[in-house]
């Protein structure tokens, strides 16, 4: 499903450049649950951003579902963001001005679904996450764990093929983290959604079926 071939990423620093990723080759099959691990500054977040088409690689090829996406134009990239890729962030990144319901609805608005379709999809997701009672609350009225649940609900409502999660439990305590990780496992096993998460926690990494270690921009082993 995802194929990275000799992907590099560097930023200009002064007259030189700061290499973040060097010649990364990586293949992820459909239905995998992959955890990317590594120390701070090793390039794991950058790798995730490249996988999510939020950043362009400086060199190398990226094939998503067999298609070259590393040099895609904005319009096509946006199409992938709307349909195929869902994001979950460490800091949740919910829109403070919108209610739970409206936050979950937002990606569907960008997909230009009809009102009734949106309604039924959001209702399904709310139902599944047991959040129907909270649908009219604003993010700041929720606990961190609940906010992240909303974040995940928002990520899956558009029925993506892959979810990219950047330390999804980083701001949560262990009980909440466990709930979230169970949810990811369930999404992976029941809904067959490919999940790629960046994590520091060995425990979280065990929920997945493959671990990628990254160090100084290189994939280890």
């Amino acid at each position: 499903m995802i194929q990275l071939q000799k992907i590099s990423k560097h930023y200009p620093v002064g007259f030189g450049k700061n290499e973040i990723l060097k010649d990364v080759d990586l293949t992820i099959e459909e239905g995998e649950f992959v955890s990317i691990m590594g120390p701070s500054g090793s390039g794991k977040s950058t790798l995730l951003h490249i996988l999510g088409l939020l950043e362009e690689p400086s060199a190398g090829q990226y094939l998503f579902q067999g298609e070259r996406v590393d040099k895609m134009n904005e319009k096509k990239r946006t199409q992938l963001h709307r349909g195929a890729i869902g994001f979950v962030f460490q800091a949740y990144h919910l829109i403070d001005e919108l209610t739970v319901y409206e936050n979950i609805e937002t990606p569907l608005l960008y997909k230009s679904l009809s009102g009734s379709e949106r309604k039924s999809k959001v209702a399904d997701v709310l139902d599944r996450f047991n959040m129907v009672a909270k649908k009219d609350l604003f993010p700041n009225q929720l606990s961190g764990g609940q906010q992240q649940l909303v974040g995940i609900a928002r990520a899956i409502v558009a029925e993506p093929r892959v979810i990219l999660a950047d330390e999804p439990t980083g701001n949560l305590h262990s009980d909440q983290a466990k709930v979230i990780m169970e949810l990811f496992k369930q999404l992976n096993e029941q809904d067959k959604i490919t999940i790629i998460q960046v994590t520091h926690s060995d425990l979280n990494a065990t929920y997945g079926n493959r671990i990628i270690q990254i160090r100084d921009g290189h994939i280890q082993g």
Partner: protein, 801 residues
Amino acid sequence: MFTSYLKIAWRNLWKQKMFAAVNMTGMSIAICAALLLSLTAYHEWSYDNFQENRDHVYQLYRQDNTSKGVRVNKSFSEPMAGVLQKEVPGVKRVSRIAGGDMPVRYKDKNIYLDVEMVDAAFLQMFSFPLQKGNQQTALGSLDQLVLTQKTAEVLFHQENPVGKAVEVKIGDNWKPFVVSAVTDNIPDNSSITFEALARFENVEDYSNIRDNWNVSSYPLMVQVEPALDAAAFNKSLLPVAHKYLADLISSLKSTGGIPDKDGELLRINSIALKDVHLSPYSTFGSGLRSFYPWMMLMLAGLIIGIACINFINLSIARSFTRGSEIGLRKALGAMDRQLMLQFWSEAFLLCFVSLIVSLLLAVVLLPYYNATFQHQLSFQLFHNGWIVLGTALGFFLVTLLAGGYPAWKIARVNIIQVLKGKLSLNRGSGVRNGLIVFQFMVAALLISCTAVVWQQMNFIRATPLGYNTAQVISIPADNASPQSRIAFRNKVASEPSVESVTGSILNLGIGKDGSSGNWTRGFDYKGGHLNTQCIVVDYDYAKTLDLKLVAGRDFSRQYGTDSAGVVINEQLARQLNEKEPLGVILNPGGQPYHVIGVVKDYHFESLHKKIEPLMITMDPQSRMNYLFVKVNTNHPAAAMERITAIWKEVNPLAKNDPGFLDENTDRMYRQESRFSKIFMSGAVLAIVISCMGLFAIAVLVMAQRRKEIGIRKVLGASVGSIVMLLSRDFLKLVLIAVLVATPISWYLMQRWLNGFAFHVEIHWWLFASVCLLAVVIALATTSLQTVRAALSNPADSLKID
């Protein structure tokens, strides 16, 4: 989608009430001001638009190229009209226009009407449609009178006015007229106004001016064939000038007139009716200069610009706090233009609310606006589709400017940086600072202009004019008969507060009748040619007005021959170049006058002009258009009341009230005082809106620098030093703004002041104080925030991250 944007926009506004309030108040005030100003400009430009022949009807004026520059004369002699009609090809119709306020009586009703004496073609030249009567014959005979609908209603109520006999008092005689037609009311944007029309031959002095090429007393309007353009028309007037004004041309030649580039000493030029309103050379002009509507528009633009800058700065600054929302939306699949649309729609919402508020505000303020600036605006103007369209378009542009730039900037930010929360306020502060500088530059410009205008107005009021303005009451005589003038003199003389009474054919300043004039005569003296202004006065003129005689004496009843005497001013005495001017014989108009006195120069005209030569002759039998009464009392209001009562008693037909001369002289500077009021209001608005913006920016910057301030305090910085540090950035901007504004305002004001022969000098300390003022205002605005930030407990600010 759009409803979702609006929802977010609305909730955002609620959440950030302070910013919303600053933006909306600023915008509302600005839009309201801009609306009123642009409506005013539009109104000035719309003058005479309703005239179908506005492109083909011209007012003529004569331009003499004298040795001292161009002299313009707006009046022509009586036979000129006939000559043009006969001898100039392409001339279709001609009309002279004379007249003024005259009493009109019908049965026992007696009212003053503005009766204009015109030629028969008038109704065909100008678009004043008739409601009743026949356009071809309405002014066919000399005893016909045309009324406007309004005056017909006042005079006849429900009766049919056509065919009714009325009388008009022209000069000292009542003349019978028959109402022949009724016109629609005159649009308020008409340069030519009247309440009644009669034939030109009815003018009081018709027997004197008829076929007389030596007297030029009335303006002349000409309609030409549409094929003839202004330049060609002006050219075809040259032969007429050469043929009929040869005397004038030769006198110009003999006095050293400087010919123009075509070798002409005298030209007859034309002003198209559509340009008459803003033309300085037209009798029917408003006295407004043509840059005035432009100035209004510029001021409107500046004020809107300042409000837009607030909007832009605040939107950008605030959007950084919404960084995660922007980044997230991008990750969820929002295109750049969708984000732009979202942020623009927020701006639109805010601007739209402001527009509504400003419209309400404008409706409420309009009467005060009209009263303060002497405009006659009404919201009738909105019946004009173009204005509505223009307003809508202008509004759309404002939202595009105010919302578009921030939206564009926001939509382009790097998604990774916002998601990581690395976006900082310091990015793009160059633009922000530039915009703040611009705001304060405009404010400083308006403050210094206001200051100069204000100084000049004070200077004008304080300059001794050379005659007594505080104690002298001027009374427009309004067609009073000689008997009633004599009766008034006798009655007033017995009042204890009255010191003396006199009369003159011309007023000083502009009285409540709103008219002013001058009379210039030329005569030969010892081989040279002199031009001088003239007035004819009654006994006691110098005494009543406290004029100082530097030589000789005033007119006196003890000398029987004083009607052959003349008092001249120092300026004329200098031009005579005589060692002893007393006893010199002057021959204006072929009649000898001997100089009996020299009066110290006084400003008988406005301070726009240098003091010109003046000769004062005395003729108690002459028609005194204005009476002057000097009172000596501690209760001027009571004296004024008493004199008004006496005047009304002897002349019940009097239309205009007496007034003190200082009011008259003030009236000469109406344009300037209107000017200064507009500047002042503009300056205040600019300052207030700029300060609101500065305040809000200060709030944001303080929030941004909370942590830095905390660290500095922990490291031992004092409150004072932190306030200094924080204020410095803002002060720097204000100082730059003042520095940029200074030369611009100096240049503009120097040009304005050059319009006055007597004016104040612009001093450096003016700009220094403007600078100080701007700094103080900026400091006061930001200090609330800086001091609060400096006093805050560092523990609070450092805990956050």
